[in-house]
């Protein structure tokens, strides 16, 4: 059974078709990248897979459960770290972890041990009793990922996990994600608009453009297929465009706000 299977997903917002017939299959234990510029439909696809949004057409299963008819079982089987800041700055790191242990249904007797394991995996030990509002961007991301590990998710969804991080923090996040996959066999699904990062860290990639998947394969396959020197070139070859940063006022505002808080 695959970790994620989607067939013909369509999501419309009024006249705009944000996701236009996305089909993909992600195997257990894969690190899978959804790659594309802002507005390509990555986040919307992720929202369908995390049950936050019902698709207008198509079907998908995550961890073997249908996102439409069995959303609760999907939510109980996944971890999700949205692009925006989801750790609560008004709480300490330990309180953030305790909160997510409770809301994701970790049995009382296992909470302490699971929190300790997540703290170790994300290297958060020394800062447990500090308010999250005093954290740097990299520490916040690791805290958020730690809170998403407590229910031992079968699939971990991360939306732009390294946005706003400096190169050192970025490398540490990826190192921890690879360690997690190696140790727990967790399937990791990330979205990113950073081509170089996707090429280096993902087992397989789906390049999205205008709500569609325009290329799918391992980085090596994609490079070979398009005779390209980098994933950036592949993107240009399949879309005819360079990757550009666009987005609606609200996206930009939200991103800037997050960037400011991530400082």
């Amino acid at each position: 059974m695959s970790a994620v299977a989607a067939a013909g997903l369509v999501v419309r917002f009024g006249a705009l078709t944000a996701v236009d017939g996305v089909s993909l299959e992600i195997a257990r234990g894969e690190v899978f990248g959804l790659l594309g510029p802002n507005g390509a439909g990555k986040t919307t696809t992720l929202r369908v897979l995390t049950t936050l949004l019902a698709p207008d057409a198509g079907a998908a299963t995550v961890a073997g459960y249908d996102v439409r008819s069995d959303g609760l079982a999907v939510r109980a089987s996944i971890g999700y770290v949205p692009q925006a800041l989801s750790a609560d700055g008004a709480l300490t790191a330990a309180e953030n972890l305790d909160f997510y242990a409770r809301v994701t249904g970790v049995p009382r007797g296992e909470r302490a041990q699971r929190i300790a394991a997540a703290v170790e995996a994300m290297e958060l030990g020394p800062m447990l009793d500090r308010l999250a509002s005093t954290f740097s961007g990299g520490m916040l991301r690791r805290l958020e990922i730690a809170t998403a590990l407590l229910n031992r998710p079968e699939v971990l969804f991360l939306d732009e996990p390294t946005v706003g991080l400096d190169p050192t923090a970025r490398a540490l996040v990826w190192e921890r994600l690879h360690a997690l996959r190696a140790e727990a066999g967790t399937t990791v699904v990330v979205t990113t608009h950073l081509m170089e990062e996707a090429e280096r860290h993902c087992d397989r990639l789906a390049i999205m453009h205008g709500g569609r998947i325009v290329a799918l394969g391992t980085p090596g396959e994609l490079l070979a297929e398009h005779g390209a020197g980098s994933i950036e070139d592949v993107f240009r070859a399949v879309t005819g465009h360079a990757i550009s940063d666009e987005g609606r006022y609200r996206d930009v505002r939200a991103q800037r706000r997050v960037a400011r808080r991530l400082g």
């Binding site: 195997a27 073997g64 925006a84 989801s86």
Partner: protein, 278 residues
């Protein structure tokens, strides 16, 4: 490396065991989820005690500046009760309502930063999310009310101090605050933007305040306003608080009406909340 070959459709169609996190059934998950949300709100309150004290200033101004001035005028028929004693329950309810409005703003904040998306992708029951927030608002309101009552007692304002009265008043205040927190969360989930929420929030909350018996009895209102006040949950909250703290009235009946409103608005907020992220 390449992906392992996908399983056949037949294999993926086989029924799966329910995830362990869903053990315990819906009611137990609702209780545990509400408890987790409330605990977290309580922790936030403990990290930010200054906020609690600054918010406690406004009701004191209403009581001691507005209340003292109006009691000199003797313009408001209070049924023989000193005006400041008459006003105290109204001011308690008003301060609680402002706490509740803040929880609508918090929905928008959590939506903008991403906490809401995160929470909605967990198995936490939606109703627990709403009830937990309502309980958080209620906790803040009750702590403020206790502070206010202490000042009222020190100032020698003549309330009827009975254990049942004070406990009943605090429980009713908690329920009433839950009502307005749910109303505020519903509105916030629908309007989604801070600026619009501030406008619409004022448009809803201020009339609710003036079309209630917080400042003056229903009897002196024009007939149409009287009708509005009759369905306004704030009226029942204030009347009930007066019943508990000054005697008379039917405070338990008022409590029942507020519980009814709480049920209705909890359902509304539960339905609206997940739409806030769209």
């Amino acid at each position: 490396m390449s992906a392992p070959s996908a399983a056949s459709p037949a294999a993926s169609a086989e029924p799966r065991r329910r995830p362990a996190a869903l053990a315990g059934g819906p009611l137990r998950r609702l209780a545990a989820g509400t408890a987790a949300m409330s605990l977290t709100e309580w922790r936030k309150l403990r990290h930010d005690q200054l906020d609690l004290f600054t918010r406690s200033v406004q009701p004191l101004l209403w009581l001691f500046v507005f209340g003292t001035a109006m009691s000199r005028l003797r313009a408001i028929p209070t049924g023989g009760v000193e005006y400041r004693a008459y006003l105290a329950p109204g001011v308690m309810a008003q301060a609680a309502m402002f706490v509740a409005i803040f929880f609508g703003l918090a929905v928008i904040w959590e939506r903008d930063v991403g906490q809401l998306q995160r929470l909605l992708a967990t198995p936490l029951p939606r109703t627990a999310l709403v009830l937990g927030k309502a309980a958080g608002a209620a906790t803040r309101a009750v702590v403020q009310a206790v502070l206010l009552l202490i000042v009222v007692a020190i100032a020698g304002i003549g309330l009827r101090w009975t254990v049942t009265g004070v406990v009943g008043a605090l429980v009713l205040l908690a329920v009433g605050t839950g009502v307005f927190a749910c109303l505020s969360m519903t509105i916030a989930s629908l309007v989604k933007e801070r600026e619009r929420f501030m406008g619409i929030g004022q448009l809803v909350m201020m009339p609710l305040f003036f079309a209630s018996s917080a400042l003056y009895p229903l009897a002196i209102m024009p007939a149409w306003l009287h009708d509005v006040a009759r369905v306004n949950p704030l009226t029942y909250e204030v009347e009930g608080l007066r019943g508990f703290l000054l005697g008379g009235g039917h405070p338990w009946l008022d409590m029942l009406v507020c519980l009814g409103w709480l049920a209705v608005l909890t359902a509304a907020a539960t339905k609206a909340y997940p739409k806030a992220i769209l």
